[in-house]
């Protein structure tokens, strides 16, 4: 496929948010959860390019078209200190098998190392065998398997109910 010589991997900009929102939708479709993404491109602009940045991105661009992205943020381990967490990594199907995903992931890891991070964490769905194999080939460990970690979550409604609980009694 032509255009690979024009591939640019760079940090995401405010102006990329509309396209990034499009790619987020494609990734949700791939994960079989198309109604998942609730946020808009405007929210991405506000949260990623405002006063406090809640995330950072790298994008893969060919002739002004974004064909992939990675979204990450900094985290912390009380054991090993600064860590980088890769929330999303996605390359459009037509552009896979050319190392673009690996370039995007390397960019995140490089940014993490530059910030003094000693870990790169992420999650993957247990049915996503191709991704699991790829991550392991790149040296990542399944710590759910090796250490027994389970991912827990409180939804927004659960959070609100939780802070209200016992208020009258306290």
């Amino acid at each position: 496929m032509s255009g690979m010589e024009k591939l640019v991997i760079r940090e995401g900009k405010k102006e990329d948010c509309t396209q990034i929102r499009g790619l987020i939708q494609e990734l949700a479709d791939y994960e079989k959860t198309p109604d998942g993404p609730k946020i808009s491109a405007d929210t991405l602009i506000q949260d990623g390019f405002g006063e406090k940045q809640f995330f950072h991105t790298f994008v893969a661009e060919i002739d002004s078209k974004l064909v992939g992205f990675s979204l990450y943020f900094y985290a912390y381990s009380t054991w090993e200190g600064r860590a980088v967490y890769m929330e999303d990594i996605y390359v459009q199907p037509d552009y896979r098998g050319k190392g673009i995903g690996t370039k995007l992931w390397k960019s995140v890891v490089g940014a993490g190392l530059a910030q003094g991070c000693t870990r790169c964490n992420f999650q993957v769905l247990n049915w996503n065998a191709p991704s699991i194999d790829y991550y392991k080939r790149q040296g990542a460990t399944d710590i759910s398997e090796s250490e027994g970690w389970l991912a827990f979550r409180m939804t927004h409604d659960a959070m609100k109910a939780f802070v209200k609980k016992g208020e009258s009694a306290s």
């Binding site: 609730k38 054991w79 929330e87 190392l113 992420f122 399944d142 970690w149 389970l150």
Partner: protein
């Protein structure tokens, strides 16, 4: 017991509580960072985490360490990295007060999720988290946690 945001001066005691939690998790050699690392990373120009502590007459009997994260589906979220209360102070709601203080701060910040992890053998904690309304996403959705350690990170960028 007073629940309050931690100050830089609390880092030595927090480091000790981190050690106690690691001992409880049966991984005493886990924590490699120092109190100075906590001071630099939590109280410097760029804050990598926030903490609230349970203070009983200037002695810290518990702490919660958290930071803000992002979901491309629901936006701003909070991640609770550590929640710990010393054994002799348990059963009095201190842990719940610490957790609530994180959730409250997160709601004020506009977060729509509170995420955390728990070890699969830690039945008491699993039961407690579920009672408070949290869901096991590994069971419900099939999420697996993956990690690249520093050596693998260095190897990757050099390849």
């Amino acid at each position: 017991v007073k629940i309050r945001p931690a100050a830089k001066e609390d880092c030595k005691q927090i480091r000790e509580l981190i050690q106690e939690l690691a001992d409880y998790e049966k991984m005493p050699d886990g924590p490699k960072i120092t109190a100075e690392d906590l001071e630099k990373d939590g109280f410097g120009d760029q804050k990598f985490f926030y903490t609230h502590v349970a203070d009983l007459d200037s002695k810290l009997v518990g702490f919660v360490l958290f930071f803000y994260t992002y979901s491309t589906w629901e936006g701003k979220s909070v991640y609770m990295e550590d929640l710990y209360v010393q054994p002799e102070h348990r059963g009095k709601g201190v842990g719940t007060k610490l957790w609530k203080s994180v959730v409250s701060a997160a709601l004020d910040t506009g977060c729509s999720r509170c995420n955390f992890q728990v070890l699969d053998w830690n039945k008491p904690s699993i039961e407690y988290y579920k009672r408070q309304g949290a869901v096991d996403l590994s069971a419900a959705e099939g999420w697996l946690s993956f990690r690249l350690h520093k050596e693998q990170m260095v190897k990757m960028v050099q390849s």
